[in-house]
């Protein structure tokens, strides 16, 4: 590496350091609301997932609940608080990064389709009950009958240690 390259690296490190130092914490936070429940179709053979396992499902790295039952991902459309929490806590991505992630995922032939976008709670519940293997993220105050609420890291919505809020 010659002297010019070294200087360029030093400048880049300086930019990096400044960006970390000036990073506004408000950009990574959304307003506090109710916990977001992880709900699945009642027939899905799972009751408890760790946050890492939920992330694996949402990243499309786990695509089957078992050999016969594929995962069907449901995600609320932009602006919904459920989506904000999922992107912030699980994906740890911005809206643009999330879109780019799924374009790349499909482009790599690692998944045949992106998560299905749902525009309302009604639509979400309709799909949750109709599609075996469906998983969705719902405001815990709006949980309805016919679905199963999963524990995350051993906790249910409302628990102090529950991670999705």
């Amino acid at each position: 590496m010659n002297a010019t390259s070294k200087r360029v690296v030093i400048i880049l490190w300086t930019i990096l350091w400044l960006s970390v130092a000036l990073h506004s914490p408000s950009s990574a936070q959304t307003s506090r609301g109710a916990d977001i429940a992880v709900v699945v179709n009642a027939d899905t053979p799972v009751t408890d997932l760790s946050l890492s396992e939920v992330r694996k499902v949402l990243l499309g790295e786990r695509q089957y609940w078992n050999s016969k039952l594929p995962v069907v991902l449901l995600i609320r459309a932009p602006v919904a608080r459920e989506r904000d929490v999922v992107l912030r806590v699980i994906y740890q991505m911005s809206e643009a990064q999330f879109k780019q992630y799924w374009v790349a995922k499909i482009f790599r032939a690692e998944a045949a389709s992106p998560p299905r976008i749902v525009y309302s709670n009604d639509m979400q519940y309709e799909l949750l009950t109709a599609l075996p293997g469906a998983i969705a993220f719902v405001d815990s105050r709006n949980v309805r009958p016919g679905v199963k609420v999963l524990r995350v890291d051993g906790h249910l919505p409302g628990d102090r240690e529950y991670p999705l809020r």
Partner: protein, 429 residues
Amino acid sequence: MHRPLWILAVLILTANASRGQSPSTPDQTEQIKTLLERVQQLEKRLAEVESRLPASSTPVLSAANAPAKPEAYEARASAVQAHEHDQAEPKVATQQLETHYPSLQIRGFGDVDFSATDQKGTNSGFNLGQLDLHLASALSQKISYFAEITFNAHPTDYTVEVERSIIRYDYNDYFKLSFGRYHTPIGYWNTAFHHGAWLETTIDRPFIVKVGGTFTPVHFVGLLAEGNIPSGGLGLSYNVGVGNGRGEVISRPGDAGDINNNRAWVAKLYARPPKLYGLELGASFYQDKITLVTPTAQDFREWIASAYLVWTKGAPEFLAEFDNVHHRNILTNQVANNDAFYVQFAYRLPWLERSLKPYYRFEYAHMPLSEQVFTHFDQGESIVGLRYDISSYAAFKSEYRYTKSQPGVLGLLAQPAINGLFFQTDFTF
């Protein structure tokens, strides 16, 4: 000497200026449209609730008093009165979202480039990059087809290339079997970014996986098994494949048949530890027999070992990959070890909606004089640049490159270093 720094500063300022002048992006328009739709939905629901208010005593399940067990939670939820409003609209939407087979999705990638270098005999100017079409279609719940087709500009015409054509059968997460033409799972870059320039942070690929390059076999025709490995906190996955390997032209695979009776094989093991979200590290091995037809027929054993470590979150992004390509002349037993690596660092800045990403990459390739299959020079390259995401699906990139190469043949003089400026706009549609 200070040229790269000036260029970087100018790029940042230009990006800031253009950002400030730009009207609302397509994303914002999309979000406003979605918001309006949502407001309409909420207004409709509010009107329905208000009309039923005297009779309604629906208990609301509170997160604060959530029962301890999922079953109890579900039972509690069952006590909540179901919504009685007209569900015709959600049902229509549900039908639309149900999967129909085959479900073909088409996505395209494109880029337009400008380059100017001080290399003698070259002209500055614009050029069209690859126009890349990607097709993905679920044929059933467990069978999918993927294809990638590129249109490539040449001085006199365009060529069409089938980059990938893969049919995959999923048994479960641990075993997926596919057949077709792949990007060979050697290292990281070759299977992470494929041909869409928009997908990669930089304007161009590193030397070891250059399109049309020979250092590693970029394509592979055959079968591939892949899946996760139950490994707890390690998050292991694998790829194992058997195929035709390099063809008569060593930059190409044997699409129409193997050049010899020896099959190439490839195995890759990689880890994505759940506790270190964003980290991936892996190693891969590839073995083949190469048959060179010209200038004289010769056979070589090829053994490629590769290792990589990446951190894929944008702040920071770190990619490092090392490849060793070992060739042995079967007749003379003469061996050659070719080494190449790249290290790339990028950081998505927190300002301007995280749309700016400066980056730096250093790469080096060494091919010894004993090498008989490759004809490339030894090469070292530094690039510094800036990516600016003008929307979720389009980007501007600006890059300065410093390339120093040296002939691998005795008696030839070292080439002068090349300085170059490169600009690209790339997008997906």
